[in-house]
């Protein structure tokens, strides 16, 4: 019988004071004993509602049961059958608003630590010799644009179906937001490298430094290059700015720029690595999503003495994973809730010296369903900072859509694609991930990549 304990088995993690100054992973991961102990908490409900909370419907009770029985290979197989990126999703999924929020235990106790168990199983899998194999049985070649989560998953699924697949990546390294956006202390790059290695072992070809829409057009992929179908997973990488005065002062940058300099370019190793990142004593990060948390915690690790979140709404409207918020708080990040940035102020040399803000109060819900922040008159004040990092969202990159006739987008610049199949307005062109949804989660992108692979298979099978 399952053993009911109210509390989650805590995740072993590194001391906040220590970890806030380096890039090593914060969470240490469960041991076998932790995992077995936690797996026993699962009630194995007949109507497993947790599965409905998962965007890719991982058979959660089954894999957890396998863990409880000590059948790690079985657990890994069950997990991977539904989620092709378990080691990544176990680390970065917002479990508290997905599977774990539905867990039957959650009504009275802590939910089962589904995310921690997922990570445990996937990390175990990485210690084993790779089992994924694929044989090319199909003659139609498929091109995948973008080596981010949706593209990697789509390519893997197509390879398993027997297709020769080429991924075209614009940057010099594969991984997309997993490479340039999510920091090492939250997602070690060796985890990503392992997944990419698995794809390569299955015969997926990854070609970096090719920008579809520039180096080759989408139409050339069909004509000149001879691909039978294309999947677009170009993400939502274009950073938004606030349009407030002083935004172009030196020391003000997008979270994308800051995180790319650090993560993709290895800026924390300057001058051994060539790309510098200048971080002052005080850094304000505007926004309260996962990217904002990544940026503010990276600021501390880059040597900032004070790093703070500035957000015009309250902690209740914050979109970051709750674990990241807790980790940030432990590490000494300051939070200015209900604080609206009005202007970046600077010195005579054009460097930022402060952020002029105004206090807000919450009013009626707005179009997003969240309480609308309303300015409090006469509440303006200046926070002295040397850096301002904007983490207020990203939109799809227009490089491909600008150069492709007949590829429809909506008002927000997102590709128009069928919800089930990912089919776009162009024949045999499919899309998924943030390029379709706007900035969302890794797991949603992975799910879309997987569904599109199946749809591509069906579309091509219908033709031959």
């Amino acid at each position: 019988m399952p053993i009911k304990r109210a509390e989650k088995t805590p995740m072993p993690m590194r001391e906040a004071q220590l970890r806030a100054h380096d890039f090593l992973e914060v969470n240490g991961g469960y041991t076998g004993a932790h995992a077995a102990f936690e797996a026993e908490r699962c009630l194995r409900c007949q109507d497993a509602v947790c599965v409905d909370g998962c965007p890719v419907n991982v058979p959660i009770p089954e894999f957890i049961h396998a863990v409880a029985m000590g059948d790690m290979a079985g657990a890994a197989r069950i997990l991977r059958s539904a989620n092709p990126l378990p080691a990544i999703c176990g680390r970065v999924c917002p479990q508290e608003s997905q599977c774990e929020s539905e867990c039957s235990l959650a009504k009275r106790f802590n939910p089962v630590a589904i995310g921690h168990l997922e990570r445990f199983v996937a990390d175990w899998e990485r210690t084993q010799p790779p089992t994924a194999t694929a044989q090319i049985t199909r003659k139609e070649r498929i091109a995948v644009i973008g080596a981010g989560p949706s593209g990697l998953v789509c390519a893997g699924a197509l390879a398993r179906l027997g297709y020769p697949v080429t991924i075209y990546e614009a940057l010099h390294a594969a991984g997309g937001v997993l490479r340039y956006g999510i920091p090492e202390f939250r997602l070690p790059k060796e985890v990503l490298d392992w997944e990419i290695g698995l794809l390569k072992a299955m015969g997926v070809e990854i070609v970096c430094n090719v920008i579809i829409g520039k180096t080759l057009t989408l139409d050339e992929l069909f004509g000149k290059m001879g691909y039978a179908a294309v999947f677009i997973g170009t993400g939502a990488g274009l950073p938004q700015f606030l349009g407030i005065p002083g935004e172009n002062l030196n020391g003000v940058m997008s979270a994308n720029e800051f995180l790319t300099r650090v993560n993709l370019m290895g800026g924390y190793k300057f001058p051994e690595a060539d790309t510098p990142v200048r971080v002052g004593k005080r850094v304000a990060v505007i926004g309260a999503g996962n990217t904002a948390m990544d940026a503010v915690r990276t600021s501390l690790r880059m040597g900032a003495e004070e790093a703070m979140i500035v957000y015009r709404r309250s902690d209740k409207e914050m979109s970051a994973r709750v674990e990241e918020y807790h980790h940030a708080k432990e590490e000494g990040v300051q939070f200015h809730w209900l604080t609206n940035p009005l202007e970046v102020v600077g010195n005579a040399d054009g460097w930022a010296t402060g952020l002029r803000c105004q206090k807000m109060q919450l009013g009626e819900p707005d179009a997003s369903g969240r309480a609308r922040p309303i300015p409090i008159p006469g509440s303006e004040f200046v926070i002295p900072v040397e850096n301002v990092v904007l983490a207020i969202g990203t939109t799809p990159n227009p490089l491909l859509t600008r150069t492709t006739a007949g590829l429809l987008t909506n008002a927000k610049g997102c590709l128009v694609a069928d919800e089930k199949t990912g089919l776009t307005s162009k024949t045999l062109v499919f899309a998924g991930g943030d390029a379709v949804t706007g900035a969302a989660t890794v797991i949603l992108a992975a799910g879309a990549g997987k569904r599109a692979a199946q749809a591509i298979h069906e579309a091509l099978a219908g033709r031959s």
Binding site: A170, L171, H172, Y180, C208, N209, V210, I211, K214, T215, L216, T217, G237, L238, P239, F241, G243, E247, N248, N250, G251, M253, S254, N256, E257, T260, R261, L264, M265, G266, K269, F270, P271, E272, A273, D274, T275, P276, R278, D349, G350, N397, P398, L399
Partner: protein, 281 residues
């Protein structure tokens, strides 16, 4: 990896490279650039595409060794490989055919006029190239450009070659002369101060003027926003909205200030390269 097919030292600090890059050569247009990286852990730097040969599948870039990475590039020779070359990035120069196009090149910026003059002359435009350099030794590619344009002007600060004076003085003369000498549009590529001076020379003269902005960039694909340039009061990304913008709308003060954001670190990196060079000797 992209193999270097040909190298030529143009001046003590400027090197001409022809690189094997068939896909880029097939799609490049005047005004576009490539991002390149020379070593693991290296930075990505934007370099204007000077020329391309679609048949041979090669592109030409001209690099001035001013920073750590450009120094490393200039240390490469024929047969060496460049780790990463991605492009063509950015939009191309788009000027309606049938007019008189004047390309103004300052320093190693003159290199970018190669493909511009070739394409526009070939389609039947009248073309003028004005090349500027401090002295004769620093003047580049004049003989290569001469057959590619209708009319070539050379300017040196000390008068050691061609007209003694600035490119802007020569440009002003052509505009004043009128008739067949007067350009309908001007494209200026070179140091920021020169491009700003060109913008002031043509302002109010009814001459459409484009400048090729060269801001700090990280990815070159629209992702970082570090390359934002203020154009007509609005922030534009040089990598995807540019790199060429209406010269009369560009805020050069902001652009020049932003380009100095990492001067301290650039010097630190450069000193490090120099130190390693000394150790190697």
């Amino acid at each position: 990896m992209a193999k270097i097919i040909e190298t030529r030292r143009l001046t003590p600090v400027t090197t001409y490279f022809r690189i094997e890059a068939p896909l880029i050569a097939a799609s490049a247009r005047p005004g576009q650039f490539v991002m390149l990286r020379v070593r693991e852990g290296g930075e990505r730097i934007p370099i204007t595409i000077a020329d391309y040969d679609r048949q041979l599948g090669t592109i030409t870039i001209v690099v001035q060794a001013v920073g750590a990475t450009t120094k490393r590039v200039c240390a490469l020779g024929t047969g060496d490989e460049i780790l990463d070359v991605a492009g063509p990035m950015g939009g191309h120069i788009d000027i309606a055919p049938g007019g008189h196009v004047c390309g103004v090149g300052g320093g190693f910026g003159s290199a970018a006029l190669l493909c511009l003059m070739r394409e526009y002359t070939a389609r039947g435009d009248t073309t003028t190239a004005i090349l500027g350099a401090r002295n004769k030794e620093l003047l580049i590619l004049a003989e290569e450009l001469r057959p590619l344009c209708t009319h070539l002007e050379v300017c040196t600060d000390d008068g050691s070659a061609g007209f003694k004076g600035f490119v802007t003085q020569k440009l002003a003369q052509l505009i004043e002369a009128g008739g067949r000498y007067r350009p309908d549009s001007v494209v200026a590529i070179g140091p920021m101060a020169m491009m700003r001076a060109v913008a002031e020379t043509t302002r109010g003269k009814g001459v459409k003027t484009l400048v090729s902005m060269d801001p700090l960039m990280v990815d070159g694909t629209g992702m970082c926003g570090g390359c934002r340039v203020t154009v007509g009061g609005k922030a534009q990304f040089a990598c995807v909205d540019g790199p060429c913008f209406d010269a009369h709308e560009v805020d050069f003060d902001v652009a020049m200030r932003r380009n100095k954001a990492y001067v301290r670190e650039e010097k630190q990196a450069l000193d490090r390269v120099a130190c390693m060079e000394r150790r190697a000797v």
